[in-house]
């Protein structure tokens, strides 16, 4: 009984995480991250990811404040924010966020305020999207653990 639930949850988890990769929310770096998680640091991924989301929210706030002023945008400041965000997203494997950051950066370089605002919105959307997805994923993980199962290794490639 319990084992069937676990197996189901595990399959669900696998399908879910694979879909996240397939839809481009995550890339290999996320697997790297998961590899780093062991008995010593069982919540490593969740910790890093939540730190990342906090970071996102803060950076997006500052950047949106910078970009709010129509005629006096400090693109340098925005650029450094984007750079941070790009580094972080690349580190956690948040592929979609990272990709938006790449075009965001280009907009910064050509000082295109409209483009920046558009990218900002996209980044905001993407990270929130990822956040919910990952929350679901972590919930699944928790359920598996509570059901007494183990988190399955997922071979993405």
């Amino acid at each position: 009984m319990n084992t069937t639930v676990v197996a189901q949850l595990q399959r669900q988890f696998q399908d879910y995480i694979v879909s996240l990769y397939q839809q481009g929310f995550l890339d290999n770096q996320f697997s790297e991250l998961r590899k780093l998680q062991d008995e010593g640091t069982p919540d490593f991924v969740a910790e890093v990811v939540s730190l990342f989301f906090d970071d996102c929210s803060k950076l997006i706030n500052t950047m949106s404040a910078s970009l709010e002023r129509p005629d006096n945008v400090d693109f340098k400041q925005v650029d450094s924010g984007v750079h941070q965000l790009k580094g972080s997203s690349s580190s956690v494997g948040a592929q979609r966020v990272k990709n938006v950051c790449i075009s965001f950066k280009e907009c910064c370089h050509v000082q295109n305020r409209e483009g920046c605002l558009r990218c900002l919105q996209q980044v905001d959307y993407e990270y929130k999207m990822l956040k919910t997805k990952l929350q679901d994923l972590f919930n699944l993980e928790q359920q598996i653990l509570q059901a007494g199962g183990t988190i399955p290794q997922v071979d993405i490639n």
């Binding site: 290999n28 770096q29 790297e32 991250l33 590899k35 780093l36 062991d38 640091t41 490593f44 910790e47 890093v48 730190l51 990342f52 970071d55 450094s80 750079h83 941070q84 790009k86 580094g87 972080s88 690349s90 580190s91 956690v92 494997g93």
Partner: protein
């Protein structure tokens, strides 16, 4: 009578009419207009008049003749005469009619008179008359009778009644008399009238005045028109001598013109042309116009529109030309200006469009290149993963077939990596992104290292030679990384195409080549010299020669082109990207030099590049000397700073396959690391099937390094690693060692012969070594990174690899940390706030070179004390600094190397990358 009058009048006209052709009132102003005129001031302008007054001038006498003889001349007169004739004819006709009338009237009158007389005679019946005219009277009578007979019938009675009355006859006579009188009177009046009419006729019949008037009008008109016309008119005879000229603004007097030709009058441009033109018209007999520009001393440069028509005499023979000219200089100028303007406009427009096109193309090209570069970057990272994983896979237990497949996979991957690196290099050079670094380096060392590296990967029995002339400075300044890249590329090329014999590098100082004399680079150098800098320039010629297959002459031109190889055949046989030489050439040219090649098929090729280098000051040199000797003490490395000859014998069974990818090979740590003799032996024993390796080993015994017991243990120890050597990969960490003794070097007077071998350890061994190291002393690692998440991830990874790290959040913190404690490895983010990784690395390197933090302090970094104590500790060691780069052009690996970094990891950092890095740099 009429005819007489005509001729008379024409004669008169010739004189009078023509003389008045130019009215007198013109005279005052027109004095000089008519060159024909006397300067004496005779206001009568017409030549005819002049002729009469001055018969001396031949042409003047000729003019009337001309007027008479030429068609044009006579036509006007003919017209006038015709008109006059017509009028005279008309008058004559009228007169004749009148005369006829009068005659008729007279006849009537006479007839009436006769009748009256007859009647009178008959009625008066005068006898005296009868005898005179007997017969006639008879006739008369008869006639009268007859008449009377006829009349009688009707009037007989009346007549009879009155005939006899005297009163009747008297009355009748009176009446007749009266009638006669009236008739006579009428006749008289008619005669009077006739004579009167004859008189008026006489007065009218003088046409001179009329003609004169007409002519005067014509003259007046002509004069009115021509008075201010800026034209020159003239007549020239068939020898083109001026007979007549009219010029509104004369600059020559008539004597100077008349009787002469153009050529005799003027000199300069256009005169001949106009003369020829006139002659042409004369010959062709067809009037025409032409624009001629005269450049004469007389009136400067002026353009005239000239009309020339031939003149015929009445017999139709050409006797000369009429000529009319108008100055159109301004108009021509304007026209030409307009034309030029239009032309300029067109040219500018064309240029503009051309420019736009070029800009467009350039932009497109740049965009394409940028894209290529970005793409290449994007491709490179995953590909590195693929190749890396394949390499790791190759260390696992595989069967023969699997291994073969894997080998193919790895070598293909390597080739693609190489290609991408090459493309990146090329696009960087072409887009001008590539910057050159000026660093001090020792050419001898560079050559030695390049040859050593090449020798390590040799799979053929070739001898590699390095030959450096004595006059090559010990130390020069240039972009050593680029130069190494060129040398490595050329050497690997040479090796690839050489199956036996030698491959070598030869360095010598040459005088400044001609192509660089007016080069900006030279100018820069001179400028710097003038600015008081102690640096001087030296040109070094570097030959990379081989005894290989050579290059056919027809293939040489396309040798340096991208993606081109000498032939498709070669491409198949030898592989390669076809970009290597193109990159070399571009790099050499970027550095202000020249790359050339000479080759003979089957005898070998020599690639020669000439580059300018700066030579550092002697102060710097002595510093380095100290540093170097220091280092030499520590590492017991032979002092090769001045040695001019190296030779590397082949060493088979090396780890490198086809040349290996650039970065792994080119950018080994600068200092050769010595490993223990045991490890050294491992490399040989590792490949038991390799006989040459064994024989080489025998040579090694001379060096005294062979320890047989250890040899045995190690050979038994790692049978697996042998495979790795065959596979070969550039990213494997190799440690070169030189087995040579300094005593040997000194005994041979600076010429050193040595063999190079490679020691390679498998990952497993490395890890073992790492754990060994951990036990003894844990390596200290510093992570310089500003991104919290990156720090977290990297730290966690380090933990997995069994290390801990210190963290610095920016370049300044890094410098402070390095100042305070000693590290074995630094992982440095490139893009950071406050002080970026590149600058920080430069400052750290400067500290290592100079032993002080002056540069850092200058850059505004706050350095605490205690520095002096550490100087002596660390100045001998080069701290490995690994860059962590995002995949952008701005954070290129080249820039990292240029700033003194030893290697780089592209972000995001993965366990594998980190592990490789630690394996390479921690020992």
């Amino acid at each position: 009578m009429v005819c007489e009058m005509e001729t008379d009048q024409i004669e008169e006209m010739d004189v009078e009419v023509l003389s008045s052709m130019w009215p007198e009132n013109v005279g005052t102003e027109a004095d000089k207009q008519f060159n024909v005129e006397k300067p004496a001031g005779d206001l009568d302008t017409l030549k005819e008049v002049t002729i009469e007054e001055k018969p001396t001038i031949a042409d003047l006498t000729r003019l009337p003749e001309l007027m008479n003889s030429t068609q044009q001349g006579s036509s006007q007169l003919t017209n006038l005469v015709k008109q006059w004739e017509y009028m005279q004819d008309n008058a004559v006709r009228l007169l004749r009619e009148e005369l006829k009338n009068l005659n008729r009237q007279r006849e009537e009158a006479e007839a009436k008179e006769l009748k009256i007389i007859e009647e009178y005679k008959f009625e008066s019946n005068e006898p005296e008359n009868v005898p005179v005219l007997d017969e006639t009277s008879d006739l008369f009578r008869r006639f009268r009778q007859k008449k009377r007979d006829a009349l009688v019938d009707s009037k007989k009675i009346e007549i009879y009644e009155e005939f006899d009355t005297v009163a009747y006859w008297k009355q009748k006579a009176l009446n007749l008399e009266k009638m006669l009188e009236a008739s006579t009177e009428r006749e008289r009046r008619l005669v009077e009238k006739l004579s009167e009419s004859l008189k008026t006729m006489e007065s009218q019949s003088a046409p001179v005045q009329e003609l004169t008037q007409n002519l005067e009008r014509a003259e007046g008109f002509l004069h009115f028109i021509l008075q201010n016309a800026p034209i020159v008119m003239g007549h020239q005879d068939k020898d083109l001598r001026y007979l007549f000229i009219y010029n509104k603004y004369p600059s020559l007097r008539e004597q100077d013109i008349l009787g002469k030709t153009d050529v005799e009058i003027f000199h300069g441009g256009g005169v001949k042309e106009s003369q020829d033109f006139k002659r042409e018209v004369l010959e062709k007999g067809k009037a025409s116009k032409r624009e001629i520009t005269f450049t004469t001393d007389l009136f400067g440069s002026k353009t005239f529109l000239i009309y020339v028509e031939p003149v015929y005499n009445k017999a139709g023979e050409k006797i000369g030309i009429n000529y009319m000219g108008m100055e159109v200089t301004e108009q021509v100028d304007k026209r030409e200006k307009m034309a030029k303007l239009r032309e300029d406009n067109a040219v500018r427009k064309a240029m503009e469009s051309e420019l736009n096109k070029t800009i467009h193309i350039t932009e497109e090209t740049m965009r394409a290149k940028q894209m290529l570069a970005t793409m290449s970057h994007e491709i490179r990272s995953p590909l590195s993963g693929v190749v890396g994983m394949a390499e790791i896979l190759s260390t696992t237990r595989l069967d023969k077939e699997q291994r073969q497949l894997l080998n193919v996979m790895i070598s293909s991957g390597d080739l693609v990596l190489q290609l991408i690196n090459d493309i990146l290099d090329l696009s960087k050079v072409e887009s001008g992104v590539m910057k050159l670094e000026a660093t001090k380096f020792r050419p001898r060392e560079v050559v030695k290292h390049v040859l050593q590296t090449a020798a390590a990967s040799l799979k053929k029995s070739l001898t590699l030679e390095g030959n450096i002339a004595d006059d090559v400075p010990i130390e020069v300044v240039g972009d050593v990384l680029r130069i190494r890249q060129i040398l490595t590329n050329l050497i690997s090329n040479a090796i690839k195409f050489t199956h036996e014999g030698n491959v070598g590098i030869k360095l010598q100082v040459i005088s400044e080549p001609s192509f660089a004399r007016d080069n900006t680079l030279t100018a820069d150098t001179e400028e710097q010299e003038q600015n008081g800098l102690t640096e001087t320039s030296v040109w070094i010629c570097c030959d990379v020669w081989d005894t290989g297959i050579g290059i056919p002459e027809n293939a040489i031109p396309c040798l340096f082109k991208k993606y081109m190889q000498a032939s498709a055949d070669h491409a198949r046989k030898y592989g390669g990207t076809g970009l290597g030489l193109a990159i070399c050439k571009q790099l050499v040219e970027l550095m202000g030099g020249q790359l050339t090649v000479t080759s003979r098929v089957n005898e070998g090729s020599t690639f020669t590049f000439i580059l300018p280098y700066k030579v550092g000051t002697s102060d710097d040199y002595s510093d380095d000397q100290d540093e170097f000797s220091d280092m030499a003490d520590h590492q017991s490395e032979p002092d090769d700073t001045a040695e001019g000859y190296f030779q590397f014998k082949p060493l088979l069974g090396s780890i490198y396959s086809n040349g290996g990818p650039g970065i792994g090979n080119d950018f080994l740590p600068h200092k050769v690391m010595l490993t223990s003799p045991i490890k050294l032996m491992n490399s040989f024993v590792a490949d038991p099937s390799n006989n040459t390796g064994q024989s080489e080993m025998l040579q090694l015994e001379n060096g005294g390094y062979v320890d047989e017991s250890k040899l045995e243990t190690s050979s038994g120890h790692c049978p697996e690693s042998a495979h790795q050597y065959e596979n070969g990969n550039g990213r494997c960490f190799s440690k070169e060692s030189e087995s040579c003794s300094s005593s040997q070097a000194s005994s041979e007077g600076g010429t050193l012969e040595m063999e190079s071998e490679l020691t390679v350890s498998s990952h497993r061994e490395e890890e073992k070594a790492e754990t060994d190291l951990k036990e003894t002393s844990k390596p200290k690692i510093l992570l310089v990174e500003d991104n919290k998440i990156n720090i977290m991830v990297a730290k966690s990874m380090m933990k997995q690899l069994g290390h801990t790290m210190d963290i610095a959040n920016n370049g300044v913190e890094a410098i402070t940390a390095i100042n305070h404690s000693s590290y074995d490895l630094v992982l440095m983010d490139v893009c950071m706030p406050v002080l970026d990784g590149l600058k920080a690395t430069r400052l750290i390197r400067s500290y290592e070179e100079t032993g002080n933090w002056n540069a850092a302090i200058e850059a505004g970094v706050d350095i605490k004390t205690l520095e002096n104590e550490q100087v002596c500790v660390r100045s001998t060691n080069r701290l490995p600094i690994i860059a962590m780069t995002a995949n952008t052009l701005a954070e290129s690996s080249e820039e990292c190397y240029a700033n003194g970094m030893d290697s780089f990891i592209s972000k995001p950092v993965t366990l594998q990358k980190l592990r490789e890095c630690l394996q390479q740099y921690l020992h």
